[in-house]
């Protein structure tokens, strides 16, 4: 009976160690946040920039590291230095917009003046910056 308990405990220990090892060294290496699976805060590009310009700390408390779904007019499309597609949406301020780096394999198909994009908010520099973006429509 004692041997049985010891064996069960050993098996449990082994399984736990293997699970932690798999999560830290295997799963985390390949699995990143998936914006498509997360609920998003819906806002227009103009309103997002306005919120950041009005009060950056309070905007960060509301948007930072959250998934945001933005609707806006495209003013620029391009690629960053690593070759990822980027899209910049217009706000009411000509010096500031929303820069979104699209997720690997995602890009705008066709010519659209207004798009809806979903991404993770990283904060505010000249533009409000989103990453891991996907085009919703």
């Amino acid at each position: 009976m004692k041997i049985k308990i010891v064996l069960i405990l050993l098996a449990l220990c082994f399984t736990s160690i293997a699970a932690v090892w798999y999560y830290v060294f295997q799963y985390s290496k390949t699995h990143h946040r998936d914006v498509e699976l997360e609920n998003a805060i819906a806002v227009t590009a103009g309103q997002l920039v306005k919120d950041y310009q009005a009060n950056e700390s309070s905007a960060n408390a509301h948007y930072l590291n959250k998934v945001i779904q933005i609707k806006g007019d495209v003013i620029k499309e391009g690629k960053d230095q690593a070759g990822n597609y980027t899209v910049t949406l217009k706000s009411n301020d000509p010096f500031s917009g929303v820069l979104c780096t699209l997720k690997n394999g995602s890009k705008i198909s066709g010519t659209h003046s207004t798009i809806v994009v979903k991404g993770i908010c990283a904060g505010f520099l000249t533009d409000v910056v989103l990453n891991e973006g996907v085009i919703v429509k």
Binding site: T88, G123, T126
Partner: protein
């Protein structure tokens, strides 16, 4: 009439002599490397905002901590939550000058040495830094490269793995291709 023409000529010449160009990008790159023999700790940020003035050499590199991407999501989470505390301190920035900008000929393609001197702010701690990098001019467009050694403790960045799995000193490499 002659006077007016001369005046216009000198006004134009003066404007030409004093006109300065501001180069900028919002998709520059910074690489943060705090690898140790035990662990590869490398984060890359491709959303670096930078501006450079050709006449004065004034330069700014700004980066959001949450834009650093690591191969391992767990490492990225720890970098943000436990070390750089990006929710409290979302930005890092270098503001300063390329002190020998006068030696760079923006009209001539080539590679030029660039001496950077300024203030680096990470984790809300500012330190004076200087380093030597390079400006490459290709078809009138400059690309700036530079690297800073950053002792994590100097910026109030602490954590149990620093000095073990994470190096005490990180190398921050900047590469900005201006538009």
């Amino acid at each position: 009439m002659k006077k007016a023409t001369l005046l216009l000529f000198f006004a134009g010449l003066s404007f030409g002599l004093h006109a300065q160009k501001i180069f900028s990008t919002t998709t520059g790159q910074i690489r943060f490397n705090a690898s140790s023999p035990l662990e590869k700790v490398i984060g890359i940020n491709n959303q670096v905002d930078s501006k450079m003035v050709d006449k004065t050499g004034q330069v700014i590199f700004s980066a959001l901590i949450k834009s650093f991407k690591f191969e391992n999501q767990l490492m990225e989470d720890h970098f943000n939550e436990n070390y750089l505390e990006s929710s409290k301190f979302p930005k890092a920035e270098f503001r300063g000058f390329i002190t020998n900008i006068g030696t760079v000929n923006f009209a001539k393609d080539g590679k030029y040495t660039a001496n950077f001197s300024g203030t680096l702010t990470i984790h809300s701690v500012s330190q004076k830094v200087s380093t030597t990098g390079e400006i490459t001019i290709a078809k009138g467009t400059p690309t700036v490269n530079g690297a800073f050694k950053v002792k994590l403790a100097d910026y109030g960045i602490t954590g149990s793995y620093i000095g073990g799995k994470i190096a005490n000193e990180a190398e921050v490499t900047v590469n900005c291709k201006y538009q």
